[in-house]
């Protein structure tokens, strides 16, 4: 009898372990979503804090809040991972409903406050925060406009060269019924639709989409409800969001902190990642990376920095000249000094950057040096205190020569000639003065130019 009990206990443990294993395999690591890269929030505004206070006020139980919130978010991630598609609106819905089930959101409008709390406590970063807030906004707007009785003012001149030959049924085939946000993503599908068109800029794309939406509705391809929802997506610029959840999850799970020495996310926030790369679009360096590249590209960009680092640390670098063909040919070998090795590595970094931009994987994508550095930081290869040093590399191929120096060079060349033609013996005095002045100008913390330094080859 006792034997049987022990055997059953063992079985329970095994089942429990298996369950834990399955649960674990189906969960995203919460740490991957946690903010460990951004030293400040560019998205938390005063309004968000008001929402936060209201959410906290409405909470019935605020004991052990952070562990409960984390746990709820973690459960939402498990549900999210089990789905076929990673949709922006689907993710927002899952997080909201999970929080409501867990008693962390009392009223639906408290979602803003809940997400702000997640961001404030670094459970999520700015990119995910912005995505969830925008998703909520989009979802609310769609719900409001879905049953709008009249379509908005029809666009003028609908049948243009861009629109008249479009097979509307084929183009809107994904929208005959509104996509389920757990299996097919409305925003993603509409983005794919926009990419199948040809346009010069976003403004033109917007005009074409506006016409096509109306034409599809007018021809009975789209229902009024679907038309209204698509118009909300278009008007809210949802297809241009800096970060869509699918790409975000891809980078976070396949690239983020994958090259850090420990292989684990480490708390190492930097000011660089939240610096605006595009002030007009309010895109931070990190947001630009997530918008323009996928996880494979991020790893490839990061790999360039890794390769540069290895080159710098290499023990011996040679320059070999084989004067003629054949094994008996005379060979001259020049051993590069550590600093020459350093400069070669930086110059090769630039070459690698050019090559990667020409590769198929990066076709039509402009890669800046800042992107490269941001990618290396995102993968954990670079630490925050190394960023400033690495960013200086760019000065090697884009020297910031002050204008006064260029003017001074010009003035000296004129002055030098003029002094030579002064009547003797004054010309010699002028020449000495010139040498002394130039010597003084060349002093200071100015970096000697390797091109003018005959002591080095590279």
């Amino acid at each position: 009898m006792r034997k049987k009990e022990t055997h059953m206990k063992k079985n329970y443990v095994l089942v429990l372990l298996s369950f834990c294993f399955i649960l674990n395999a189906n969960a995203f690591d919460l740490n991957l979503f946690a903010n460990n890269k951004e030293s400040e929030s560019k998205s938390l505004k005063n309004r968000a804090f008001k929402e936060l206070r209201r959410w906290q006020y409405n909470l019935t139980d605020s004991q052990n809040l952070l562990p409960r919130v984390k746990s709820s978010f973690s459960r939402a991630l498990i549900t999210f991972k089990s789905q076929g598609a990673y949709c922006d609106l689907g993710f927002y819905e899952i997080v909201k409903h999970q929080a409501m089930d867990d008693g962390l959101i009392v009223y639906e409008y408290d979602f803003d406050g809940f997400v702000t709390y997640l961001r404030q406590e670094n459970v999520i970063d700015d990119l995910l925060y912005m995505n969830m807030i925008a998703s909520q906004d989009l979802s609310n707007e769609m719900a409001k406009d879905a049953h709008h009785s009249h379509p908005r003012i029809p666009p003028f001149n609908r049948y243009t060269d861009d629109t008249k030959d479009v097979d509307l049924k084929k183009m809107y085939s994904n929208f005959t019924a509104w996509p389920n946000e757990r299996t097919g993503c409305s925003v993603g599908l509409y983005k794919d639709l926009s990419l199948s068109l040809q346009w010069k800029d976003k403004k033109e794309r917007d005009q074409i989409l506006k016409k096509l939406n109306y034409m599809a509705y007018d021809n009975g391809v789209l229902s009024l409800e679907t038309f209204n929802k698509l118009e909300v997506i278009r008007q809210k610029n949802a297809i241009d969001w800096p970060v869509h959840i699918r790409n975000y999850v891809g980078i976070v799970t396949k690239a983020k902190d994958k090259l850090s020495p420990s292989g684990q996310p480490e708390f190492d926030p930097s000011t660089y990642s939240t610096k605006y790369a595009d002030r007009k679009a309010k895109l931070t360096q990190r947001a630009r990376l997530y918008r323009n590249f996928d996880s494979t590209q991020v790893m490839m960009l990061s790999d360039i920095i890794l390769k540069t680092s290895k080159r710098m640390d290499s023990k011996n670098v040679y320059l070999e000249f084989q004067y003629e063909e054949g094994p008996d040919s005379e060979i001259e070998t020049y051993v590069l000094s550590p600093m020459e090795r350093y400069r070669v590595s930086i110059k090769m970094l630039r070459k690698d950057l050019g090559e990667i931009m020409r590769s198929d994987l990066f076709r039509n994508t402009a890669v800046s040096y800042e992107d490269l550095v941001t990618a290396a930081y995102e993968t954990g290869l670079l630490k925050s205190d190394e960023l400033e040093l690495i960013l200086k590399f760019e000065e090697f191929w884009n020297p910031k020569d002050p204008k006064w120096k260029a003017y001074a060079g010009f003035a000296f060349s004129i002055l030098g000639t003029a002094t030579f033609y002064l009547p003797p013996p004054w010309n010699i005095v002028g020449a000495i003065a010139l040498i002394v002045t130039q010597t003084q100008l060349n002093k200071g913390q100015e970096k000697p130019d390797p091109d003018d330094n005959w002591n080095v080859v590279i």
């Binding site: 680092s309 710098m312 051993v335 000094s337 550590p338 600093m339 350093y342 630490k383 205190d385 190394e386 040093l389 690495i390 200086k392 030579f420 003797p424 013996p425 010309n427 010699i428 020449a431 000495i432 040498i435 002093k443 200071g444 913390q445 970096k447 000697p448 330094n453 002591n455 080095v456």
Partner: protein, 409 residues
């Protein structure tokens, strides 16, 4: 039992009294935040002898003698030198043990310090013959050695590592080897030939104008001849005159009493510590620069080896010298220059005092050859040492690359 206690008490009092009564000596020191020197009375630590400069770690002797200098020697200057040397060596030893956490000073056998020694060092016989060129105004550290087997038994001799301080001697600066012309002369000489060529061409042109276009010539031929000849003569005269202006650039006499310059003492002791990897018998820019670095680290002053009134008028070395790298700094002739010191000091400013001291010290383990160059080996050694001693090697090496780049490497 009471007797035993009493015995211990007496011994304790006697020892304490002896410690309190250990003699005071006047030594020369630099002021705390300046290069000016002062004479101060100090008690010397770890003396073993009661009447001579024979301590636990150092023994100060005169010339080739094996006997420690007596406290009551007839030559007061000799006592000042011996006391200063002993005092500063003790400071240097403490620095290496306490700040550098080095075990080398502890493992060193008692070091013989020779002051006022004129003999050349002989690898096979310790001292070269007295008749061979007597040495002045410098100091050196010598490696341990012994006479070869073929030397007769009565002259067989072995010695440990030693530091030698030469006597001071006033030498006219113009007699110093390798001083060369002064910078003004060098500058003018560089301009001389182009200027004379130009003047000669102008003269030829003027003569041609006189012959073929006399109507256009306003001056007389002789007037022009005198003017151009006068210009060339004036140029030559100015250049010749500058050759006699050495006094503007160097003092008339040169003298250096190495035993009275604290940094020289630190420098020589650093050679002893670094000698586990860096040979003492060679004076290369890298080896000397490393020793300079630790002398400077110990004094914590921007300029080291500054003048000492009455004992040294040698030029100081500047830790913050702005010179950029050039090939000639690799030459052994420039081993007394301050370029390597300034490079290593930049490392200190980049990495911070504590880390940099350890990095530079560790770098010696990668600089084992006497042919180690600054551009290749020293830079590489610093980078390799940073891998071992820096807090964040990759970040700190990037900083170092930037620093070396600013130095023109």
């Amino acid at each position: 039992m009471k007797k035993i206690y009493f015995g211990f008490l007496t011994l304790f009092i006697a020892t304490s009294t002896y410690a309190q009564m250990s003699p005071s000596f006047t030594v020369l020191e630099r002021k705390l935040h300046s290069n000016r020197t002062i004479y101060r009375s100090v008690q010397l630590d770890d003396l073993e002898s009661v009447d001579s400069f024979d301590g636990k770690y150092f023994k100060i002797v005169e010339g080739k003698s094996d006997e420690a200098i007596k406290f009551h020697d007839a030559k007061p200057n000799l006592i000042l030198r011996a006391a200063s040397v002993y005092h500063h060596l003790t400071l240097a030893r403490n620095f290496w043990i306490e700040k550098m956490s080095s075990l080398s000073p502890i493992n060193l056998e008692k070091v013989i310090i020779r002051v006022e020694i004129k003999n050349l060092y002989d690898e096979q016989g310790h001292f070269a013959h007295d008749n061979r060129t007597p040495q002045f105004n410098n100091a050196l550290s010598i490696p341990a050695g012994e006479t070869p087997e073929w030397v007769p038994e009565d002259r067989q001799h072995a010695w440990n590592k030693e530091i030698w301080f030469r006597p001071m001697k006033k030498i006219e600066s113009k007699d110093l080897p390798g001083l060369g012309p002064n910078p003004l002369t060098v500058s003018l000489q560089a301009l001389e030939q182009p200027f004379i060529n130009y003047t000669t061409n102008r003269f030829n042109q003027t003569i041609m104008e006189h012959i073929f276009y006399p109507a256009y010539s306003t001056n007389s031929v002789w007037g022009d001849v005198i003017r151009f000849a006068g210009t060339i003569a004036l140029t030559k005269a100015v250049i010749e005159a500058t050759k006699h202006m050495d006094n503007l650039f160097v003092e008339k006499y040169y003298y250096l009493d190495t035993a009275m310059v604290p940094e020289v003492i630190y420098h020589e002791y650093a050679h002893l510590i670094l000698s586990d990897y860096m040979e003492m018998s060679h004076s290369t820019p890298v080896i000397e620069g490393m020793a300079d670095y630790f002398a400077a680290a110990l004094t914590a002053k921007r300029k080291v080896y500054a003048k000492v009134k009455g004992y040294s008028n040698a030029a100081a070395k500047d830790t913050e010298s702005k010179k950029d790298y050039a090939h000639w700094y690799e030459s052994n002739r420039t081993s007394t220059a301050d370029f390597v010191l300034s490079v290593l000091w930049d490392v200190r400013e980049t990495l911070g005092e504590k880390v940099a001291d350890q990095v530079v010290f560790e770098a010696r383990t990668f600089l084992t050859t006497r042919t180690a160059t600054i551009n290749h080996h020293l830079i590489q050694a610093i980078l390799d040492a940073c891998d071992l001693k820096c807090e964040r090697p990759r970040r700190d090496k990037l900083k170092l690359y930037e620093t070396f780049s600013l130095k023109g490497f």
